[in-house]
């Protein structure tokens, strides 16, 4: 600057010097002044000197400041505050008279608010600026505190008005948290309430939280949980400590605290944390957590927040009270609704049983009016009579004694019918009716009772049928378990009920299939949804079973179970098969001789043959016609015996000997070579028989003996005795010395049309022994056959002794 250069070189201006008092040590004043002083060259902007006060203010050494450019110590304004000057150039500042406000920059970078008064002087052609710097930080702090208090009061006022204006609680809590965040300058925060679970366990629920997401997962987590809150049940850690504390808990060195491990991985670091419990009427309702206020949390801040915290506590408390009130109101309304609409009859009485109140269901069930019911003894309202009165007295006594009663009451219903109530009685502590009221909950079970009784009766009937049935029943329930087996099943199948009750269907089927030789799928029939299958059991004895299975469903088609019905069809199947076999064989046996008779006679009629041929054919015709005669006779004999089951037998006591002799005589041919060796004692017991039929039987046996002896050997005829079937028996024995029979042939000896001789050389029908067996059977006797191939055959017809029969009968009568 030109003006500057015009100043005297040595800096000693005469006018200025005139003001200098030599007695004053200016240097001492400069260095020791209470104000901070800075001297700078106006033209170059370099700092020429600074006193210790200024050095202290700026945390810098004097040597560091001297020679530096003054820009280095001027800071840009850190705050948007109109009360501070924008200028940073000391020269600009200095050219303006009076006091300027500005910021100086401390060594640690902190801006220090200051007031600067500048004066200029010429010294040795330089213009020097002398700045008196006064720190104004204290003042500024006070002013900022005032603003914060205003904000606090603002926040309190807003929140209270918001609560009164019925803003949703969650919104309100969000606003509370936001107030705390902005008032403290914290980075993160959350607000939570403490509650109790239904079983009394305390838990902490974070209702609102600031967004501190750090990854896609946490963003998702935050988005999901921020609106509904986040519940914490483990209160052993830091949350529990805060909730138990009545005063705020501060962690300004949170990163060193053990609780930092509770932070999930990736969570932004927490430097400082404070937990602010919110209380109401001495009860901690929750807390606000704040974190990462740059300057940490100090006692001053906590004091400052106290009123707001108190207000928040009371807001939450008030909210809870209001919620409880609403809940209680709706519960009350609900109870009233239940009382009025429940289908059970609910009746209030006093301890004497006088009706105090009742619900509409009670009125309709009893077919009366409320007016007529109130003030009436309960038992009388139910059904006039001693029984009901006694029941009611018993119930009341039980309530007094045990605090409750459950039982059945007889009731005369509105429609006049007798009904049954299932009743619960409880004592009621109700201000409106005094503590002596009883409440009777009555459920009408009349129909259910009737249905149950009907069911029980039906079950009884079904059980009787199943128990007495000769056919087997098995019930498999909806869970595929065998739940019922009747006695017939156990008997027929030979599976003990004990072993199969409760087993699964698979287990049961397995047990059955082990017994079954054949369970042919091919024989499965379905009729009207029933499945019928023919089973052939190998054990305990050969049995043919028809199993019909019905699947039971309820009305809606849900499976109820399966009933299996087993019928023993061994007998009928076997009889059917035998009948059919018999018919088919009889047809063949009759038509074959008939074909010869017919064919040869036709041949003889059509053609002329020589006398030898003629004779041969006629012999065949005669023989075959004879066979036809025998067949027809024997078939008719057999058919008659079977059809009448011996009813046309003329049974009476006979001497056995004449019958045997007569039978032998019938076969005797004076010209034959037959030799009968008949050995019969004179005295034989009498037998109860039809003599003609016995003679036919013996004749058949003798006839076989003759045929199969082939004219060789003697035929022995005799009698033997034995004790069997509870009495003495006499046996007519016929023994030949013929070709004999193998065991397989003996086994089939009574089979119809079975012939031991397959060659056709020995005439016969194959029916003779069948007839013998039928006849002897009707006499209650048996037929024994003993034979071996080539070793003849011995047949014994055993007959009970008639005297023995009588004796037994007489004994029985005495």
């Amino acid at each position: 600057m030109g003006a500057g250069r015009n100043l005297p070189e040595d800096g000693r201006d005469t006018a200025a010097v005139a003001d200098v008092n030599p007695a004053v040590d200016y240097r001492q004043i400069f260095l020791g002044a209470n104000d901070a002083i800075l001297i700078a060259d106006l033209e170059s902007g370099l700092i020429l000197d600074a006193n210790s006060r200024l050095c202290g203010l700026l945390h810098r050494a004097r040597e560091e400041l001297i020679g530096a450019h003054h820009d280095a110590i001027f800071a840009a304004s850190p705050r948007d505050d109109a009360s501070f000057d924008r200028a940073v150039d000391i020269l600009q500042v200095s050219r303006q008279p009076g006091v300027n406000k500005n910021f100086l920059l401390r060594a640690d970078g902190q801006a220090v608010p200051v007031e600067i008064s500048t004066s200029l002087s010429n010294q040795a052609e330089r213009i020097l600026a002398t700045c008196i710097v006064r720190e104004i930080a204290e003042h500024e702090r006070a002013k900022a505190g005032l603003a914060a208090s205003n904000a606090l009061l603002n926040a309190i006022g807003t929140l209270q008005s918001r609560f009164i204006g019925s803003v949703p609680m969650n919104t309100l809590l969000k606003e509370i948290l936001e107030s705390f965040l902005s008032l403290t300058g914290s980075e993160y925060g959350f607000l939570g309430e403490s509650f109790q679970t239904s079983d009394g366990m305390p838990y902490f629920k974070v209702q609102v939280m600031s967004d501190s997401v750090w990854s896609a997962v946490t963003r998702d987590f935050y988005a999901r949980n921020a609106p509904i809150g986040l519940e914490f049940y483990n209160l052993d850690g830091i949350f529990g400590v805060i909730l138990k504390s009545a005063t705020p808990i501060v962690f300004n060195d949170f990163s060193a605290h053990a609780a930092r491990h509770a932070l999930p991985e990736g969570h932004p670091p927490i430097s400082a944390f404070v937990g602010l419990p919110m209380t109401n009427a001495g009860e901690t309702l929750g807390f606000i957590g704040l974190a990462n206020r740059p300057q940490g949390y100090d006692a001053e801040l906590l004091d400052f927040l106290k009123p707001l915290l108190a207000v928040c506590g009371s807001l939450i408390g008030a909210n809870r009270a209001s919620q409880w009130r609403q809940g209680a109101e709706s519960e009350l309304r609900r109870q009233a609704m239940v009382f009025n609409n429940i289908s059970d009859a609910v009746i209030l009485t006093d301890h004497e049983g006088i009706v105090l109140d009742c619900n509409p269901a009670a009125i309709s069930m009893l077919g009366t009016s409320k007016k007529r019911l109130l003030g009436v003894p309960f038992d009388f309202a139910l059904s006039p009579g001693d029984d009901t009165a006694h029941q009611v007295r018993t119930a009341i006594a039980a309530v007094d004694r045990e605090g409750g009663w459950n039982g059945v009451l007889s009731v005369e219903r509105g429609d006049g019918a007798q009904g049954v109530w299932d009743t619960n009685v409880l004592p009621l502590h109700d201000d409106a009716h005094g503590s002596s009221a009883l409440v009777w909950f009555n459920h009408d079970i009349t129909e259910r009772r009737a249905a149950q009784m009907k069911l029980a009766k039906r079950t009884l009937e079904l059980n009787a049928i199943a128990d007495l049935s000769p056919d087997g029943f098995v019930f498999i329930d909806r869970n595929s378990r065998v739940t019922y087996v009747n006695p017939a099943f156990e008997q027929v199948i030979g599976l003990r009920g004990k072993l199969i009750l409760g087993i699964s269907r698979e287990g049961f089927e397995k047990a059955m299939s082990e017994l079954c030789e054949v369970m042919a799928a091919g024989t499965t029939q379905r009729i009207d949804g029933d499945e019928t299958v023919l089973l052939q059991l190998g054990r305990p004895k050969f049995t043919l079973l028809k199993r019909t299975q019905r699947i039971l469903c309820d009305e809606s088609g849900v499976l109820e179970g399966t009933v299996q019905y087993y019928r023993d069809v061994t007998q009928e199947t076997e009889v059917d098969r035998m009948k059919s076999d018999f018919l088919s064989t009889a047809a063949h046996e009759l038509r074959t001789p008939m074909a010869s008779v017919f064919g040869f006679s036709e041949l003889l009629l059509r053609r002329k043959f020589d006398s030898d041929k003629q004779r041969e054919f006629l012999e065949i015709i005669h023989r075959q016609a004879g066979q036809l005669v025998s067949l027809v006779n024997e078939l008719l004999d057999l058919a008659r015996i079977e059809a009448r089951a011996g009813k046309d037998f003329k049974l009476s006591e006979y001497d056995l000997a004449p019958i045997i002799r007569h039978s032998v005589a019938e076969l005797y041919r004076p010209d034959g070579e037959l030799a009968f060796n008949v050995v019969i004692p004179e005295q034989l017991p009498r037998v109860l028989v039809d003599s003609d039929k016995l003679q036919l039987a013996i004749g058949n046996v003798l006839g076989n003996a003759v045929k199969y002896s082939m004219g060789k050997g003697v035929i022995d005829v005799g009698v033997i005795r034995r004790e069997a079937d509870g009495g003495p028996q006499i046996g007519v024995l016929v023994r030949d010395r013929g070709i004999g029979m193998a065991p397989e042939q003996i086994a089939r000896i009574f089979e119809r049309f079975y012939r031991a001789d397959a060659s056709g050389k020995i005439p016969g029908t194959g029916l003779g022994m069948s007839i013998v067996k039928e006849i002897i059977g009707i006499f209650k006797g048996t037929v024994d056959v003993r034979s071996a191939p080539g070793d003849g055959c011995e047949i014994t017809l055993w007959l009970p002794v008639a005297a023995a029969l009588n004796a037994v009968g007489e004994k029985g009568e005495r």
Binding site: S584, T592, M594, S596, F598, G599, L603, K613, E744
Partner: protein, 188 residues
């Protein structure tokens, strides 16, 4: 010349013949060895079969009658021997015998009973229907069984003519005449 090859017998055995034999015969058993033995015994018949082949060349129809009743076989022989033009009659008295005869030389007409000891007519016909290669023989069943019984016992194969006893000789004669006429028509 067609003989009963061992393979044919095996086929028959496989076709249920062995089982059938056991069932019906009861105590009788058939083994491949026994079949072989039977085959050897049949060589005599085979040679007569050769002669019959010569007869066949003279266009004499061959009729095989399978019937267990000896008197009825006599009746067949007596009646058929009077037929004009003449036929060659072969006889067998059970199904097994019948099968062996067919194996030796398939007849033009097979007349068979159904109820027979051992392998019966049902089994014989079933075996024939299972095993091909028996030529175009006509088959007539002459039986004392009723139709219902036949069905009950498994029925008879399709194409088999069914007659009931007494023996319908006139119908059988028509069958043979018809066969002869067709053969004449084929060779003409």
């Amino acid at each position: 010349m067609l003989g009963v090859s061992l393979r044919t017998i095996q086929l028959w055995v496989d076709g249920g013949l062995l089982e059938a034999w056991k069932t019906v015969g009861g105590h009788r058993r058939i083994t491949i060895a026994s079949v072989k033995r039977l085959q050897e015994e049949r060589t005599v018949v085979r040679s007569t079969g050769e002669q019959r082949k010569g007869a066949r060349a003279e266009r004499k129809p061959v009729v095989l009658v399978v019937e267990d009743d000896a008197d009825l076989l006599t009746l067949y022989e007596a009646t058929l021997s009077l037929w004009e033009p003449p036929v060659t009659l072969l006889t067998a008295n059970n199904g097994f015998d019948g099968l062996l005869k067919i194996g030796e030389m398939p007849p033009d007409l097979l007349i068979t009973d159904l109820s027979m000891p051992g392998i019966d007519g049902f089994q014989m016909l079933r075996t024939l229907s299972v095993n091909q290669g028996v030529g175009h023989m006509r088959i007539a069943v002459v039986t004392g069984l009723d139709k219902a019984d036949i069905e009950l016992r498994g029925g008879i194969p399709d194409g088999v003519v069914l007659f009931r006893k007494p023996v319908p000789f006139d119908s059988l004669k028509s069958l043979v005449d018809d066969l002869a006429a067709r053969r004449r028509a084929r060779t003409a």
